[in-house]
Symmetry: C2
Subunit: 239 residues, 2 copies
């Protein structure tokens, strides 16, 4: 029996080059949207509504009585209530609530993916690594691991997560894809020095000045919010 | 004194995200356009006219009494005389002649780069690795290492070459670029097993069926055609 095919894309600009029809697309934005999404759902959020503009965030926040949250370039957006840090969403705060979220990269890519013909769109990050891998194996469909990158520029943190997934699911898929090969090699090279290696990444330097070191360390810790965010009827819910 | 800045781009689709003004752009198409270009110039070709369509190749070939050459998807194009293999251009054949060349990826990216505001456009490949590095250091300008990829999809052979350049020139440049960091790490990981590693790449499997193993091995051999192809007045000449 033929195995389904897995590809990794390194920038939203490259998504159109691949056939997403009937595939599962995994949105990856390690620093920090998809880590925050996993964490908020794990801590009991009712759902997360990802939106691609601040205006929609405010409007939908008002309609749903949800919490509006978002960042651009690492900072909370004026007019919104909260930011894009997993640490902002402990169970004591987020349980049972709706979170309306807009971010620089991750929520934008998610909306591109929703228009790509994908059958399922989920989000992935180290905090929910195992849940993502288990889901992909169980679904047994073609997979696109879609890195959000930084304003369409390649980044390593998303690539490392894609590589972690490849490493854990590869026997279940046909993989002829240099992006996936590279991603897995980078993951294998750094899986045991992740906390020091991320200090050499451009995004670390971008966010470090906001005092986010602990946030970023959390975002590369596997399975601390091990739940599956699945897009359904306009929102990410526990899949 | 500030050092000039170096970036690596992993697909032609990402070139527009970077400021190419006054920069040196290095076109990289290891399998095989830029390896062939270095080889033909090293073996005495008068110049190489890179064109982005078959029609132009035939027309300019007739005007210049040049040799028309090109491939699409690894095969010689109908209507052209020669292909995209370095082995087709020994000194005994190419010396003093004009080569008009069109290829799937490399010559297309070169034309994108010519419209990017770049001050200089050169081509790079393992056969002319040292010549490229020496030139970049001497010019002391911002650099874009531009991987041609395969139909805009990331490939590893171009990335490995970019990584080799980063490895050799990095002390002369400011490099805050995850693509460059990744490329250098992949190069360091595989610089001593290149001939076996390239057998795992998607492009190897694409070209292997045409009996091109020797060609591909040549294309990852450093400094066997160590000359600098520089774009000037419509053609690549020895820089």
């Amino acid at each position: 029996m033929n195995k389904p095919v897995l590809h990794t894309i390194l920038s939203p600009k490259l998504l159109k080059l691949y056939d997403c029809n009937n595939a599962v697309v995994v949105i990856i934005d390690v620093f920090r949207a998809t880590s925050t999404i996993a964490t908020a759902l794990f801590n009991g959020a009712k759902c997360i509504i990802p939106v691609d503009s601040v205006e929609k965030c405010i409007a939908i926040g008002a309609q749903t009585k949800g919490i509006t949250a978002g960042e651009r370039d690492g900072k909370v957006i004026e007019g919104l209530q909260y930011g894009n840090s997993p640490a902002e969403y402990p169970e004591s705060f987020i349980k049972g609530k709706t979170l309306v979220l807009t971010t620089t990269n991750g929520t934008k890519l998610l909306h591109i993916a929703l228009n790509s013909g994908a059958e399922k769109v989920i989000t992935g990050s180290f905090p929910n690594l195992s849940a993502v891998c288990d889901y992909l194996i169980a679904e047994n469909k073609n997979v696109i691991l879609a890195c959000s990158a930084w304003k369409d520029k390649f980044n390593l943190e998303d690539t490392l997560f894609a590589g972690a997934v490849v490493n854990k699911v590869k026997e279940h898929f046909t993989i002829h894809c240099d992006s996936s090969l590279m991603a897995e090699e980078m993951y294998k090279l750094h899986q045991y020095d992740m906390l020091s290696f991320i200090r050499s990444l451009t995004h670390w330097h971008r966010l470090e000045k906001f005092g986010l070191e602990k946030d970023l360390e959390y975002c590369v810790t596997p399975d601390v919010a091990n739940i599956l965010p699945l897009y359904k009827n306009g929102a990410l819910v526990v899949g």
